[in-house]
């Protein structure tokens, strides 16, 4: 009983003291501590420390710190992985783009070369056609090929052989002297005569069509021989 008098106050002091020394942590504190641990973990990852080096693993009082630290470490690890992947992807994409650009350039170059070749070929075709498809002429009311026009027709035949895909329409025309209808028949005869001659030069007649315009499409409309002789003609037109 001698100390009994002190027991109660002591107990009170101890109780209050213990209460004062270990106050319960607020949610705010826990959040702050967790964040601090998170940052530490993150830094630890960046410093090259292992996940197992978590200093709070044994702090049973504050499991949130351990978790915060682990989360920080993991987040940093994930960030790095993502960054690494993005970098790798970028490298891959850059490479693919470069490859595609190179391919495109190659194809474009090939296309341009092909087009140039085609244009050259077309130009050569047009030039050859313009040089070869020369108008022939006929005597009045006649459909016979004139001696002097044979070289022209040889040129037409050579052209047709050099360009096997070429197709030509032969137009027969007449001068104004004679009836409209008879001249349509005569124009047909002239176109046919030119085609028959080309056939003898070895060109397949299936590559020709014939058409007669009679005296309906004169080149020259004056009533004189200089004009009429121009109108009595056979023209070759690419189809």
């Amino acid at each position: 009983m001698r100390y009994g008098n002190y027991l109660v106050p002591a107990a009170i002091v101890l109780t209050l003291g213990s209460l004062a020394c270990t106050p319960p942590k607020t949610a705010e504190q826990i959040k702050a501590e967790t964040q601090a641990a998170f940052n530490e973990g993150s830094q630890a990852f960046k410093d090259g420390k292992a996940l197992a080096s978590n200093p709070y693993l044994n702090d049973k009082e504050n499991p949130h710190k351990a978790k915060g630290w682990t989360d920080g470490w993991n987040a940093a690890a994930a960030d790095k992985a993502a960054a690494d992947k993005a970098a790798a992807d970028k490298v891959a994409a850059d490479k693919a783009a470069a490859d595609k650009a190179a391919l495109d350039a190659k194809l474009a170059a090939e296309e341009a070369a092909r087009k140039a070749a085609e244009a050259e070929k077309a130009a050569a075709f047009r030039k050859a056609a313009a040089a070869a498809l020369v108008t022939v002429h006929f005597d009045y009311d006649k459909a016979e090929i004139k001696e002097k026009d044979r070289t022209i027709l040889q040129g037409v035949a050579d052209f047709m052989k050099a360009f096997p895909a070429a197709k030509v329409e032969i137009e027969g025309h007449c001068d104004e002297r004679g009836t409209n209808e008879y001249n349509l028949a005569l124009g047909n005869k002239r176109a046919a005569a030119a085609m028959a001659y080309l056939k003898t030069l070895g060109v397949d007649e299936a590559r020709f069509t014939t058409i007669s315009y009679g005296k309906e499409k004169p080149l020259c409309t004056e009533a004189k021989e200089a004009c009429w002789s121009q109108n009595r003609r056979g023209e070759f037109k690419l189809k």
Partner: protein
């Protein structure tokens, strides 16, 4: 026309009477063979509430047209000078030279319709020679009333209707490479464009019922287009499928059921063909060894006249419509072509070349002889008969460009039909 108007004006100013005008001053050429006709001015009446007829338009659209029609009929000659007053007795007209005296009365009803009453008096016998009444809807132009009256007067005198109301169908160039089919009244008025293909369109032919056929290059190669039905749309007749090579010169048979036409092959030959519109089948009549073209039917559709170079140069031949009984018609000349069988079947008009120019000829089958119609320094082409067989329409370059003309069979009365340039292939058809 100008002189007529001036005269009209002068007389209207100079007289108090409304209708004292007289026209022109010369008697028609070769009037001796024709009946000389005097004519008083039309009397104009109007129903109480009807708007009166316009005097000036009656003068130009009726009186002048009627006088022109009768003068060109070939059977009347208008009395043109020393004309008695309108009110003068028949005896005065007789003394002035008129064998008939024509009086007309135009009445306008309240609804706007017109009635034309025409009477002709034989001045020698002093009795009626002609009397006819015509009723016309208000939309009928006055000039068509005049044409109708002229045609009936010719019928009274000759037994056959005149051709004042007839028309010419022809081809006209609109721009280089573009030709279209047109129609114009026989007096050069009323031009109508019949086709609008924007390409070469050639060789028109008109059936008795008015159906048109022609060749057009609208698709590149020539095709035959025409009307299957009266007033129907133009449609492709031939080639029925694909390309048919060269086709030209479609001509209706007189019954309008068949078409003679020309088809060229790739050997340079052209043949006369007949297309049966009913079955769509085409048949070749000539033998494919030369040029055969320009078919022309005889009036009953049993024979065809055509041009062929089978003996070297173009000549006119005749054959049956099955190709048999072939015989050469033209004798002289190195280039005879463009035959046109007359409506009554007794004559064939054609062209013949002489010294580089073409002239019209008429071959009379009964006589076995050809008569030259035109002579001159210019070329005359494409003769086609008037429905009454009294005249030919043709093209001539006598004034430079190719224009439409008509001539009587003597070749003395050549009249320019119209001043259209670049004309070809005229056909003369009855008005409907």
């Amino acid at each position: 026309m100008q002189r007529f108007l001036i005269w009209t004006l002068f007389c209207m100013l100079g007289t108090t009477g409304l209708w004292a005008q007289q026209t022109e001053v010369v008697l028609s050429a070769s009037s001796s063979a024709k009946l000389v006709l005097g004519m008083t001015a039309p009397k104009l009446l109007a129903a109480p509430k009807a708007a009166p007829l316009d005097e000036a338009s009656v003068a130009t659209e009726f009186t002048a047209v009627l006088k022109h029609d009768l003068d060109e009929s070939g059977v009347f000659a208008m009395l043109q000078e020393r004309l008695p007053a309108d009110s003068a007795p028949a005896k005065a007209w007789k003394e002035a030279g008129a064998q008939w005296l024509l009086s007309t009365k135009l009445t306008k009803s309240a609804s706007g319709d017109l009635r034309l009453e025409a009477t002709a008096l034989d001045t020698a016998a002093e009795k009626g020679a002609f009397s006819k009444t015509f009723d016309a809807n208000e939309i009928v132009p006055l000039r068509y009333l005049a044409h109708t009256l002229a045609d009936e007067m010719v019928k009274q005198l000759t037994g056959e209707k005149g051709v004042a109301s007839s028309r010419i169908v022809f081809v006209r160039q609109l721009s280089p490479g573009v030709k279209e089919v047109f129609q114009v009244d026989r007096d050069g008025a009323g031009l109508v464009q019949l086709t609008r293909h924007g390409s070469l369109t050639l060789s028109p032919s008109v059936a008795a019922d008015g159906r048109l056929v022609y060749v057009t290059y609208k698709g590149g190669a020539p095709e035959i287009w025409g009307q299957r039905k009266q007033n129907g749309p133009d449609e492709k007749f031939y080639p029925t499928t694909g390309a048919g090579g060269m086709v030209t010169s479609p001509v209706w048979s007189p019954d309008g059921k068949r078409l003679a036409f020309v088809q060229g092959d790739r050997r340079g030959n052209t043949d006369i063909m007949i297309l049966d519109l009913g079955s769509g089948r085409a048949r070749r009549l000539t033998d494919g060894t030369c040029i055969n073209t320009e078919p022309s039917w005889n009036p009953n559709g049993t024979q065809i006249a055509f041009t062929s170079d089978r003996e070297g140069a173009p000549q006119v031949f005749l054959m049956q419509d099955d190709g048999s009984n072939l015989r050469r018609l033209t004798g002289e000349g190195l280039y005879n072509a463009s035959p046109s069988w007359s409506p009554n079947g007794a004559m064939v008009a054609y062209v013949s070349r002489f010294e580089g120019k073409f002239d019209l000829f008429v071959y009379k089958l009964g006589e076995g002889k050809a008569y030259q119609i035109t002579t001159g320094v210019s070329t005359s082409e494409s003769p086609a008969w008037s429905p009454d067989e009294r005249r030919l329409v043709f093209t001539s370059n006598r004034f430079g460009t190719s224009q439409l003309f008509t001539t009587d069979l003597s070749g003395r009365q050549i009249v320019r039909l119209a001043e259209f340039a670049g004309c070809q292939s005229p056909r003369w058809i009855r008005g409907r």
